[in-house]
């Protein structure tokens, strides 16, 4: 497959991610920060996000498994997750976290568990999508092309 086609595919794919709400404008910001002095910035940040989130999700599962759930701790974890996801623009994860926090305040365990499931789901979805995105980029770079910049107004 030639570079132009691959670039087109990348653009389409990225656009679809935005359309479906997996990513929002913040991700674009990240991409803008990537330059010659910092060529792997996005990948680094996203990898850090993955590690962080795995840990947080594990902690959350354990915390909600306790007989006496410590909602404060749960809230703190969710807050962290929300912060990370909004920093990289993982919109659906962030929204899930917002809902999760509300239920934490109400101390509703069933709803929290439901939210946790949902957040996990969203997280794995976005993780797959981003990994696919990065694979595409790597292919383009390997083929000698350059990553096209996204021009999205607003």
């Amino acid at each position: 497959m030639e570079v132009g086609q691959m670039q087109g595919r990348l653009v389409d794919y990225t656009k679809s991610l935005f359309m479906e709400g997996f990513l929002d404008g913040q991700f674009l910001q990240l991409q803008q920060l990537q330059d010659e002095s910092n060529p792997d910035f996005v990948v680094e940040v996203v990898s850090l996000f993955f590690d962080d989130s795995e840990k947080l999700l594990n902690d959350l599962t354990m915390a909600l498994d306790q007989p006496n759930v410590d909602f404060k701790k749960v809230d703190a974890h969710v807050h962290q997750l929300k912060g990370s996801s909004s920093s990289i623009g993982a919109q659906r994860v962030k929204n899930g976290c917002i809902a999760f926090r509300n239920f934490c305040e109400e101390q509703n365990i069933e709803a929290c568990l439901r939210c946790l499931q949902q957040v996990k789901q969203e997280y794995y979805l976005v993780k797959n999508k981003l990994e696919a995105l990065f694979r595409l980029e790597q292919q383009i770079v390997a083929a000698g092309g350059s990553i096209p910049m996204m021009e999205m107004g607003f």
Partner: protein, 733 residues
């Protein structure tokens, strides 16, 4: 020689006469001897007799007199010389003593007489003192009664108790038959029997207030005796006996505001109640002066007590009213707060929810643009894209409107191409106008500068809104848009005399007129146009939808731009003209170097904006820390990262020019860091600028940040441009 020294009798010695003389002399002597004995006896008996010496003298005198008479018994017959001698001695002695006594008595008798007068004097004095004593005692009684009465009256603040107690106590003290109080009615024309002693609840007898006897009582501050037959005194059923004396006294009613003041000629300032006291009818008692005084004093005390009670009632009532109002106000405040919070939540959610479909629209439209399209289709797609951009701006502005009302909206000034703005508006409305078969013409005056300084986005929004309205409300005809630089005369709107624009060298006033030939507006609807959510009720407008916010927002923007907007119309069906004037700045150099306060909108990798700027970032979240660091590194800063407030305070030094603190982490108090930094660096130039990163840019958070001394607030997640603009703003100051 035997001579007789007795007096030669005129006639020869009469035996009978001699005998009688003899006997009388004897008795005299006897008496003379017994008197001193009696005297001595009685003086011995009495304790006080100051003149013992006189008594002795007197006794001696009497004894000697007696002796003389006794001895003279022997001189009736022939007597010897010794008898004569003894007789002579006793006579001589008697003479001496009696002369001495006589002399003595001259001194003593006045004394004795004066004792008598003194005795009389003392008796009088004692009687007088007795009288005065009686008077004082009576007065003291009266005083005691008054004090007791006053105490009783003043020990309560309830009006009825006061009055009742007064009557009871007075009745008791003065042993009255009946005691009554007549109060003036609301109209002030009658006196109503309010309280009596004997009857519990008197039926409301009323008496007109202008009776002469009542006037007489009211005009004097003393208790006045009145006739028992006058209407106010007919309180008891007529008995067989003579009714007792009746006294009436006025009771001033001080500061009672619940009685309406009628215009009384002579008593217009004071209201009085009448207290009537009746003595028992079958006693012959009369009113004494001290009793009258008691009554007067009591009446005054009652007046004072009543006024206190009235004041207390008033203040209690006022306090209850205030408490009620307080509760109601509190409730209203809480409701208002709830409403505001609900509105803010709603706005925030709606804002967020509205952006998601916007993404879809924009993305799809851009996608569509990439595909094969006919020119018409391309035009349509471009219009869709531009409209959605504008819609996005509108969404921002709905949020802005709430910020407009907070007063926290600020214009984003920048240099822009004025002609381009008008051209774009024109291009936007052309398709719609052609669909509606309306003629649109744009006239830009030749002296209009090409570039101006102002808020391009909002100016365009205003023009678009006004032109859009013209389009909306015109079914046919033409729309003309004219823009020119306003001169002083044309600046004034007669309806807004306070708008006094003053053109200067750096600014000019842009005047835009949009004239349409549409349905027009009736003159009374014109003032309502600029109020939020208000629409004129003509059927044409009801179909056109819209929230009615447009003109209100335009007015706010125009006001922010120090301008004025108004609409003129000659009436329904005659079209209308919308005119607005805004103040724009004149750029010094056209196309010159970028002015520092313009936010750079380039997506390309521009030159580093802040080379070598030392920044300290405190954020607990690893991912967002990395993103922020990436941002700052991209801008050329030298970034140090810390993940806790202690570390932050430890590391911060005067080399760091900016400190970015994440304040929405629960547990770590970002605000405290700001306070600590202020404490650590007391000199202003040493202190780094503190900027808060937060997910929350409502007014409360902003105020809190400002209060703890932060220099800026940025909403997370941060975009490159935002970071750049905030840093450049901060560093400029």
């Amino acid at each position: 020689m035997e001579s007789c020294y007795c007096i030669e009798p005129q006639w020869p010695a009469d035996e009978l006469l001699m005998k009688y003389q003899y006997i009388s002399d004897f008795f005299i002597a006897l008496a003379y001897f017994s008197i001193p004995l009696e005297l001595i006896y009685f003086v011995k008996k009495s304790a006080v007799f100051p003149y013992k010496w006189v008594l002795v003298q007197f006794g001696a005198f009497i004894v000697l007199c007696g002796a003389t008479h006794l001895i003279s018994l022997w001189t009736f017959t022939m007597h010897t010389r010794t008898v004569a001698v003894v007789m002579t001695t006793s006579k001589v002695l008697t003479a001496v003593v009696s002369c001495a006594t006589a002399l003595m008595l001259v001194h003593i008798i006045p004394d004795l007489l004066s004792v008598k007068t003194r005795e009389l004097f003392l008796k009088n004095k004692a009687a007088e003192l007795d009288r005065e004593m009686g008077l004082i005692r009576t007065q003291e009684e009266t005083g005691r009664h008054v004090r007791m009465l006053t105490h009783e009256i003043r020990s309560t603040l309830d009006r009825h108790t006061i009055l009742r107690t007064t009557l009871v106590e007075l009745g008791r003290t003065l042993a009255l038959e009946e005691c009554a109080l007549w109060m003036p009615t609301r109209t002030g024309l009658e006196l109503q029997l309010s309280y009596t002693l004997r009857q519990q609840n008197p039926v409301g007898y009323t008496v007109p207030i202008h009776l002469p006897v009542i006037n007489q009582v009211f005009s004097s501050s003393r208790a006045v005796k009145i006739s028992p037959n006058c209407p106010v005194a007919r309180l008891r059923p007529a008995g067989k006996y003579m009714p007792g004396e009746v006294v009436a006294v006025r009771v001033p009613l001080l500061h009672l505001s619940n009685f309406q003041i009628n215009a009384w000629p002579e008593l217009s300032t004071k209201r009085y109640a009448l207290m009537v006291l009746m003595l028992p009818s079958d006693s012959a008692r009369q009113w004494h002066v001290h009793e009258l005084e008691l009554v007067e004093v009591v009446a005054d005390q009652v007046a004072v007590a009543l006024s206190h009670a009235a004041i207390l009632e008033e203040s209690t009532r006022a306090r209850d009213l205030l408490m009620e109002q307080n509760v109601a106000l509190d409730l209203a405040r809480r409701e208002a707060e709830t409403a505001i919070r609900a509105r803010n939540d709603f706005l925030a959610v709606m804002n967020h929810e509205m952006r998601t479909p916007m993404h879809a629209i924009i993305a799809l439209s851009s996608l569509l643009q990439e595909t094969e399209l006919t020119p018409e289709q391309r035009l349509m797609v471009e219009t869709i894209l531009k409209s959605s951009n504008l819609l996005a701006t509108l969404i921002n502005d709905v949020l802005d409107l709430s910020r407009l009302e907070d007063g926290s909206l600020q214009l984003e000034l920048g240099t822009f191409n004025l002609y381009a703005v008008f051209r774009e508006v024109f291009n936007l409305i052309k398709p719609i106008a052609s669909v509606k078969k309306l003629n649109v013409s744009l006239n830009l005056a030749p002296d209009l500068p090409e570039y101006a300084i102002g808020d391009e986005k909002r100016l365009m929004q205003t023009i678009l809104n006004v032109v859009g309205n013209a389009l909306k409300f015109s079914k046919e005809g033409s729309i003309s848009v004219t823009a020119f630089v306003a001169k002083s005369e044309s600046l004034r709107d007669p309806r807004a005399p306070e708008f006094f624009p003053v053109p200067s060298d750096n600014h000019f006033y842009l005047r835009v007129q949009v004239k349409d030939s549409g349905s027009g507006i009736s003159p009374q609807d014109i003032p309502k146009l600029f109020t939020k959510f208000a629409q004129t009720q003509s059927t044409a407008t009801r179909n056109s939808g819209g929230s009615g916010l447009g003109l209100a927002i335009c007015k706010r923007f125009v006001n922010l731009m120090e301008g004025h907007i108004w609409i003129e119309s000659e009436g329904l069906g005659k079209g209308c003209t919308a005119i607005f004037i805004v103040k724009l700045g004149i750029p010094e150099r056209l196309n010159g170097p970028r002015l520092p306060f313009i936010p750079e909108v380039s997506t390309s990798h521009g030159p580093t904006a802040f080379p070598g700027l030392k920044v300290l970032v405190m954020d607990e979240n690893g991912v967002s820390r990395m993103v922020t660091k990436g941002l700052l590194v991209h801008l050329g800063c030298d970034v140090t990262m810390v993940s806790s407030s202690d570390e932050c305070l430890h590391v911060v030094s005067h080399e760091h020019k900016v400190v970015l603190v994440d304040v929405c982490v629960p547990g770590i108090n970002g605000y405290e860091i700001a306070i600590r930094i202020h404490e650590k660096f007391t000199k202003r130039y040493e202190r780094p600028l503190i900027v808060a990163l937060t997910g929350n840019t409502d007014k409360v958070t902003k105020e809190k940040c400002m209060r703890v001394g932060m220099d800026g607030v940025i909403l997370k997640p941060v975009s490159l441009d935002k970071m750049r603009s905030v840093l450049s703003d901060l560093l400029e100051q």
